[in-house]
């Protein structure tokens, strides 16, 4: 059997069976009638889509997108220097350091979030320390604020930015940087015109792997933020579990997908114009 055929067939079969078909089920559900007592009633209707375009859904979308964007940006800011410096470390220590970076994430994320709560709460470790050192008079209210949410999200998603960034930065040829320095280019210039463009695939991959899951995340924002707002994940979960309105939940999911593709399409169009090559084949 030719390698090419095996690779292509495996890809198509798996994606079709386990990704496309279930997703098409969701699309199908979005056009059906809700049956709160059961799953769905097989009657075609556009009611779910009519209901979706409401101020509530718009607010939910905005909240989720803002949170996901903010998280991606922050995570990128923290992860890029980390991946960059890590790639410079001699090879034998480097591999170990990568493993050491990811081992903390093999503990349950719930327990880790509880550990964050223990650190951030009013009578928690950070506040107790600051109070006893006399640096503050009243406990800092970090828990149940947006700050706590971002700390939690960046903490949870960091490996998803570090690893693809690292995989991309690691093959950066240091000689390019040395050569340009020899030719008289300064630090920032080298970074923006050589390093950044060459590591762009890693940045895109990492940002994608943080932004997309972050759109659907709600458990950690609820735990650390006090659950005072509704995110896309809450909204969809409520439709599937609380009200049994599967068509509405499905419609929300479909709309989220469409919004995502619009965003990605806009992004690729912009980057094509700026001549960032790789993805333009697929955009």
């Amino acid at each position: 059997m030719r390698f090419r055929n095996v690779a292509v067939v495996l890809t198509l079969v798996w994606i079709t069976l386990f990704v496309a078909v279930p997703y098409l089920l969701v699309v199908l559900f979005s056009f059906l009638t809700p049956n709160p007592a059961g799953t769905v009633t097989y009657t075609f209707t556009l009611e779910s889509y009519r209901q979706i375009f409401s101020p509530v859904f718009l607010t939910v979308c905005k909240s989720s997108f803002t949170l996901a964007l903010g998280t991606s940006a922050l995570t990128l800011l923290v992860a890029y220097p980390f991946a960059f410096f890590l790639a410079r470390i001699p090879e034998n220590i480097r591999r170990t350091l990568i493993l050491l970076m990811i081992i903390p994430f093999w503990t349950s994320s719930l327990i880790r979030t509880y550990a964050l709560i223990i650190l951030l709460k009013a009578n928690g470790i950070i506040n107790s320390f600051l109070l006893s050192a006399g640096w503050i008079d009243e406990p800092l209210g970090i828990l149940y604020t947006q700050t706590a949410v971002f700390i939690g999200l960046v903490y949870t998603l960091l490996p998803f930015m570090i690893l693809p960034l690292y995989a991309s930065i690691q093959k950066l040829d240091m000689r390019l940087i040395e050569a340009s320095r020899d030719l008289g280019a300064r630090g920032w210039h080298i970074f923006f015109h050589i390093v950044l463009p060459l590591t762009m695939p890693g940045i895109i991959a990492g940002s994608t792997m943080v932004f997309l899951p972050a759109l659907g995340l709600f458990y950690i924002p609820d735990l650390l933020g006090g659950a005072r707002s509704m995110l896309m994940g809450n909204f969809i979960k409520d439709q599937f579990l609380t009200t049994g309105n599967w068509p509405l939940g499905s419609a929300a999911s479909v709309l989220l997908t469409i919004l995502m593709f619009l965003m990605l399409g806009w992004y690729f169009a912009v980057s094509r114009r700026a001549n960032q090559g790789d993805m333009k084949e697929l955009a």
Partner: protein, 256 residues
């Protein structure tokens, strides 16, 4: 100076990553069943851990699923990323689009739709369906990571390998894979991490006879997460730490 800055930043990030873990380990000695407040020191949770059959069984199940699904997802994902990069085939663009869709799907949507699909096809809900589900949600992360690396390839290297008479398979095995290795490993590590901690998709796609650890943990929230879970996490963390350190020392010794 620049060296110090870079090392300093690395240390800072590692601190950020590890401080909550230290807290987690310390609280495994907390003498209370439900609180996030320190009530006193005890070793009893480690004792309870050793005799907690169902918890250990769930933990073992999680490990088996995580290793298996990561490995299969990594193989599939690497092949898929390479195929999408290199070969023109019908459904190429749609496949990549669905990769993104899958990555963005909220867990509940994926869980319920996969469960309905499994039932439609007549599969019995249990360890097999759980495994299939895990491979499915890990796949996009492998594909995106490997694709990012492969798209930065110098295609001349591949072309010259083919000019020298290599088959597609040979070229893939001996030229491409070594170059992709950091991304392949990164993909495996990400998949393993994702699989170990998945709750919602696992809830819907596993059966009555196959319980996994994250479900047990999340279900405990209602009454309070016992420090026994902290103890389990601490043990797993320590074992991983020791393994990594020992592997490092052994390799370092070999290289001498």
């Amino acid at each position: 100076m620049r060296r110090a800055l870079s090392y300093g930043y690395l240390v800072f990030v590692y601190l950020f990553l590890y401080v909550p873990i230290v807290v987690l380990v310390v609280y495994s000695f907390n003498d209370t069943k439900f609180s996030t407040n320190w009530q006193g020191f005890t070793l009893s949770w480690y004792g309870k851990l050793l005799t907690d059959g169902p918890l250990m069984e769930a933990f073992a199940n999680s490990l088996i699923v995580a290793v298996t699904s990561s490995t299969i997802a990594t193989v599939l994902g690497t092949l898929a990323a390479f195929a999408i990069y290199r070969y023109r085939f019908i459904g190429r663009k749609i496949s990549f689009s669905f990769i993104y869709v899958s990555m963005m799907s909220p867990d509940i949507v994926m869980g319920i739709s996969l469960l309905m699909f499994f039932i439609l096809v007549g599969l019995s809900i249990g360890a097999t369906t759980l495994l299939l589900a895990h491979i499915t949600f890990c796949l996009p992360f492998v594909v995106v990571t490997v694709y990012a690396r492969v798209s930065g390839f110098d295609s001349h290297i591949i072309d010259s390998a083919k000019d020298l008479g290599a088959t597609e398979l040979g070229m893939f095995r001996h030229v491409v894979m070594p170059m992709l290795m950091p991304a392949i490993i990164a993909g495996w590590l990400l998949s393993f991490t994702l699989s170990l901690d998945d709750v919602v998709v696992s809830f819907f796609t596993t059966g009555p006879s196959f319980e996994v650890l994250p479900l047990k943990i999340y279900s405990m929230v209602r009454l309070g997460i016992k420090p026994e879970i902290n103890a389990l996490s601490a043990v797993m963390f320590l074992v991983s730490l020791v393994t990594v350190t020992m592997a490092h020392l052994m390799i370092a010794k070999e290289n001498k």
